[in-house]
C-alpha cells in the first residue's frame, strides 16, 4: 500500500480557484474590449496591450528581484489590473504615461502592501487617479469614437472631444441650462458605447453582459453593483426632479463616466470591498452617494473612481462594524 495521505477535514474542495476567478473576470471583460476596439481602433488595442503587459512585467520584476519570492503573475490578477487600468484611460494616452500608471498600480498600490489580497486600495484605480492628477491634460483629452467599419482610428493623433459629463459640467458651470447643452450623445449611443471617454467605460451593453456572466458564474454577488447603481439612480433622480436644469437625469448618470465599469468591475474587487453582505450594501450605497455628490458639486466631472477609492479606505471600518449576523444572535432587542 502507498503511504496514505492524512489531513484534517474537509477532504473535498470546491471548484473555484483564484486563477479561475480572475480569468473569469477577464473573460467577462472581452465584450467591452471588442466594443472599445470597434470604436477607438488602434489606440484601444495598443493601450490595452501595453497596460496589461507592463502590469504583468512589473509584478514579475518585483517578485523576482525585490521581494525575491515566487512569481505570482500566473494568477491573472496583475493582468486584470492592467486591463482595468487600460479601460480607465483614454485610448490616445502616450505609452510612457501608461507605463507610469501601471507601475503605480502594481508597485505602489499592490506589491508594496504585500501583493494580491493585501492591498487596501484598488490598484487600477490608484493608478488611474494618480495619472489623472499628475497628467490632467493627457488624461482628459478623449478621442472621438469612430466605428471601425468606417475607419480605423489611429493611436495618438485622433481628433479629440469631450466626454458627455465634461460637457455637462462645463455647461452647468457657465450657467447654461442642461437642455441647451450641445453635443450630448443620445441614450442609445451611450448605451452601445458611441461616445467619448475612457476606452472601457463607454459600452454599457458590453459591461452589462459582463455583469450577467459574472453573476451566473458566481464570481461576484449582486450586492455591490446593484446597490451602487440603485443609489445613483435614486439619488440623481431626486436631484434631477428638484432642478432639472442643473442636475442630469438618472439614465444619463448611469450610462456615463464609467459608472457601470466602476460598479461592475472595480467596486466589486474582492480585496478592497467589504466582507459581509450588510457591509457590501453600505459600501455600495456610499459609493453611489459620493459619486453623485462629486459629479454635482466637485471639480471633477466624473466621480466613480474617487468614490470607490474613498470607500476603499472605509472598508476596514465597515468590516469592523458590520459583522455578518451570527447564528443564534439575539434578534432585535
Amino acid at each position: 500500500m502507498n503511504k496514505l495521505f492524512v489531513s484534517p477535514s474537509p477532504h473535498v474542495y470546491g471548484k473555484q480557484s483564484v486563477k479561475g476567478l480572475m480569468y473569469g473576470v477577464l473573460i467577462a471583460l472581452i465584450p467591452t474590449m471588442l466594443v472599445s476596439i470597434y470604436f477607438f481602433g488602434m489606440g484601444a488595442l495598443i493601450v490595452t496591450l501595453s497596460s496589461v503587459l507592463s502590469a504583468v512585467a512589473f509584478e514579475y520584476l518585483i517578485t523576482r528581484f525585490i521581494l525575491k519570492s515566487e512569481s505570482t503573475i500566473m494568477d491573472g490578477s496583475a493582468a486584470l489590473t492592467g486591463l482595468l487600468l487600460a479601460f480607465n484611460v483614454p485610448s490616445n494616452l502616450p505609452l510612457w504615461i501608461i507605463l507610469i500608471g501601471s507601475f503605480v498600480a502594481i508597485a505602489v498600490s499592490k506589491m508594496s502592501f504585500g501583493g494580491l489580497g493585501n492591498n487596501i486600495f484598488n490598484p487600477a484605480l490608484v493608478g488611474r487617479v494618480f495619472l489623472l492628477i499628475s497628467f490632467p491634460v493627457q488624461m482628459t483629452s478623449w478621442p472621438k469614437p469612430i466605428a471601425i467599419t468606417e475607419k480605423m482610428l489611429p493611436y495618438l493623433d485622433a481628433e479629440t472631444g469631450a466626454t458627455p459629463l465634461a460637457l455637462v459640467k462645463e455647461g452647468v458651470r457657465n450657467g447654461v441650462k442642461l437642455s441647451e447643452i450641445q453635443g450630448i450623445p443620445s441614450n442609445m449611443d451611450m448605451f452601445i458605447g458611441n461616445m467619448g471617454g475612457s476606452l472601457g467605460e463607454v459600452a454599457a451593453i458590453a459591461l452589462i453582459l459582463g455583469l450577467v456572466y459574472m453573476l451566473v458564474r458566481k464570481i461576484i454577488t449582486w450586492h455591490i453593483p446593484v446597490s451602487i447603481l440603485g443609489t445613483i439612480a435614486i439619488f440623481s433622480g431626486l436631484m434631477h426632479l428638484g432642478n432639472p436644469d442643473k442636475f442630469t437625469d438618472p439614465v444619463f448618470n448611469m450610462l456615463t463616466g464609467g459608472v457601470l465599469l466602476g460598479a461592475i468591475f472595480m467596486a466589486t474587487d474582492y480585496v478592497t470591498s467589504p466582507m459581509s453582505t450588510k457591509g457590501m450594501l453600505i459600501y455600495g450605497v456610499s459609493i453611489g452617494v459620493l459619486t453623485v455628490v462629486i459629479r454635482a458639486f466637485g471639480a471633477f466631472p466624473e466621480g466613480v473612481s474617487f468614490a470607490i477609492l474613498i470607500m476603499n479606505a472605509f472598508v476596514p471600518l465597515i468590516n469592523m462594524y458590520s459583522k455578518p449576523k451570527r447564528f443564534g444572535e439575539k434578534q432585535k432587542k
Binding site: 502507498n2 496514505l4 495521505f5 492524512v6 484534517p8 477535514s9 473535498v12 459581509s276 447564528f327 443564534g328
Partner: protein, 443 residues
C-alpha cells in the same frame, strides 16, 4: 419552496453511490479490537479479564462517568489481550481484543425480527435501558444518548427532531436504514418521545432521498405526532443547529444546547438503536456502515460489528483499489483520514470512504483574496478568514470575541475557498487554544 436553514451552506457533489444498495451483513471477522473510548466523554472501564469467554452483547467495559457509555462485546469468543492500539488519531489507546468463536449472543437479547410496537417501559426505565445498552448518538458525535433523554430540570422539550438528513456526500447508511428499518425506527421515535415527554416529532430528510421521504411519510400515518419534513439539499443541514432552524425555525443561542429552544435532536440510526435496546434488549454492538469510493469495485452498505478492522470492510467491498490516496472514516466533509486500514470501526463510524490519490491531495495554499466566499457560506455567520488570521497571529483574545467557539467545524469555508486556505485547520487550532484559556480562566 423546500425548507432549509437561512444562512450559508454549500452543495458539494453528492456522489451517493450506494443509495440503492441494500444493507448486507458483513461476515464475522476472526478477531475484533474493541476500543474502550468510542464515545464523547470518559473512557469505559474494562471489567473482563484476559482469557475470559464472552458472548455477543455481554458488557465488557463499564461506563466511566456521567458522560460515558457501556461497551458490550460485539462477538462471542475469548478475550486474548488488552493492548494499546493505534486508533484513528495515531495515538495508542486501550482496547480489548477478542478472538471470535462462533456467534453466541447473550440470552436476554430478542434475536427475532418481529416488530414490537407496544412500549411497556416507563420513561425512567427507558433511560436506564438506553444507558445500559451503551447507546450513543450515531450521527457522528457519539454523545451518550441517555443523557439527552433526561431533560434537565427547569427545561421543557416540546419537539423531537429526527436527523435523517445525511447531508454528507457519499454516505447512505441512514438513508438505507430509513428505507429498510423504517417501522422499527418509528417505534424508536415513539420511545424517545415517551422518554422526553413530547407529543410531536419531526423527521428531517433531504430531498435527494425521495424514496425515504415517501416511505416514511406513508408509515407515519400509523404513528401519532410524527411528521416527515423534506428539506432542500444543502450541507451542513445535518448539523443540529441548522436542522432545528430548518425544521422549526428556531435558533439556538450561541453556546446553548438544543433544549434551550425546546428541541431534542436524534439521529435516525440512534432511534433505531433505541428501539433495539428497549424493545429487543439488544445493546449497541453493531451498526450500518457505508463503504464507498469512486474506484471501489463494490461500494456497499454493511451491518458491521463494532471492532471489525477497516480492512475487512474494504475486502468485502472488493479490495483496496490501486490508486487509493486516502481512507476516510466518515464523510468527505467531516470524516477523519485514517493512517492505515487496520483501525477498527466503532459505534461512531458511519462510513468508510476510499479516495483516489488524485483527489486526496490538497492544493497549494495561496494568500487570502478577501473574496468573502467563506463568510457567505459559513452557516454560523462567522468570518473564517478572520478567524484563521487570528489563529496564525496568535491573537486568541480577539478570535474569541469573533465567536470562534461557535464554529461547528463543518468545513464549508475550507471547501469553498478559492485560495485553498486551510481555514478550518487553523480555526480548530484557535478553538483548542481558546478552549484551554477558557478552562484556565474558570479554574
Amino acid at each position: 419552496m423546500l425548507k432549509t436553514f437561512s444562512k450559508g451552506g454549500i452543495h458539494p457533489p453528492e456522489n451517493k453511490l450506494t443509495a440503492n444498495k441494500q444493507i448486507e451483513m458483513l461476515a464475522l471477522p476472526k478477531t475484533v479490537v474493541v476500543p474502550v473510548a468510542q464515545h464523547i466523554g470518559a473512557p469505559a472501564k474494562i471489567i473482563v479479564k484476559r482469557g475470559d469467554m464472552v458472548k455477543a452483547g455481554q458488557i465488557i467495559a463499564e461506563s466511566g462517568g456521567f458522560i460515558s457509555a457501556n461497551i458490550h462485546s460485539p462477538v462471542s469468543g475469548k478475550v486474548t489481550k488488552f493492548d494499546k492500539i493505534i486508533d484513528t488519531s495515531g495515538y495508542k489507546k486501550d482496547t480489548v481484543i477478542i478472538e471470535v468463536e462462533g456467534d453466541e449472543w447473550v440470552d436476554t437479547i430478542d434475536k427475532s425480527d418481529t416488530l414490537i410496537k407496544e412500549i411497556s417501559l416507563s420513561p425512567e426505565e427507558i433511560v436506564k435501558r438506553v444507558n445500559d445498552s451503551g447507546v450513543v448518538g450515531l450521527g457522528g458525535a457519539t454523545f451518550p444518548s441517555y443523557v439527552k433523554l433526561m431533560v434537565p430540570k427547569g427545561k421543557k422539550a416540546d419537539v423531537l427532531i429526527l436527523n435523517g438528513v445525511e447531508c454528507e456526500p457519499y454516505l447512505t447508511s441512514d438513508h438505507r436504514l430509513m428505507l429498510e428499518k423504517g417501522e422499527e425506527m418509528l417505534v424508536g421515535v415513539k420511545i424517545i418521545m415517551k422518554a422526553i415527554n413530547v407529543n410531536k416529532a419531526i423527521i428531517g430528510i433531504e430531498n435527494n432521498k425521495k424514496d425515504a421521504i415517501e416511505h416514511l411519510t406513508t408509515l407515519c400515518q400509523g404513528y401519532d405526532g410524527i411528521t416527515v419534513v423534506p428539506l432542500k439539499v444543502k450541507y451542513p443541514q445535518g448539523g443540529e443547529k441548522q436542522l432545528i432552524k430548518a425544521t422549526i425555525n428556531r435558533e439556538i443561542p450561541s453556546g446553548a444546547l438544543p433544549i434551550e429552544v425546546g428541541a431534542v435532536v436524534q439521529n435516525v440510526g440512534t432511534a433505531f438503536a433505541v428501539y433495539e435496546a428497549v424493545q429487543k434488549n439488544k445493546p449497541l454492538f453493531e451498526r450500518v456502515i457505508t463503504i464507498t469510493g469512486k474506484s471501489l469495485k463494490n461500494p456497499s452498505n454493511f451491518l458491521v460489528r463494532v471492532g471489525t478492522a477497516t480492512s475487512n470492510l474494504i475486502e468485502a467491498a472488493g479490495g483496496l483499489p490501486e490508486d487509493t490516496g486516502k481512507i476516510i472514516s466518515g464523510g468527505p466533509m467531516m470524516g477523519k483520514a485514517l493512517l492505515n486500514d487496520q483501525s477498527p470501526v466503532t459505534k461512531g463510524t458511519s462510513g468508510i470512504l476510499i479516495m483516489p490519490e488524485v483527489e486526496s491531495q490538497r492544493r497549494k495554499m495561496l494568500p487570502c483574496i478577501r473574496c468573502a466566499k467563506c463568510v457567505s457560506v459559513c452557516p454560523m455567520g462567522l468570518e473564517p478568514f478572520l478567524l484563521m488570521t487570528y489563529s496564525v497571529k496568535k491573537e486568541y483574545e480577539r478570535e474569541e470575541k469573533e465567536r470562534v467557539m461557535d464554529c461547528i467545524e463543518c468545513g464549508s469555508c475550507s471547501y469553498v475557498c478559492p485560495s485553498d486556505r486551510p481555514l478550518l485547520d487553523y480555526i480548530r487550532l484557535g478553538k483548542s487554544e481558546i478552549g484551554k484559556i477558557i478552562r484556565s480562566r474558570k479554574a
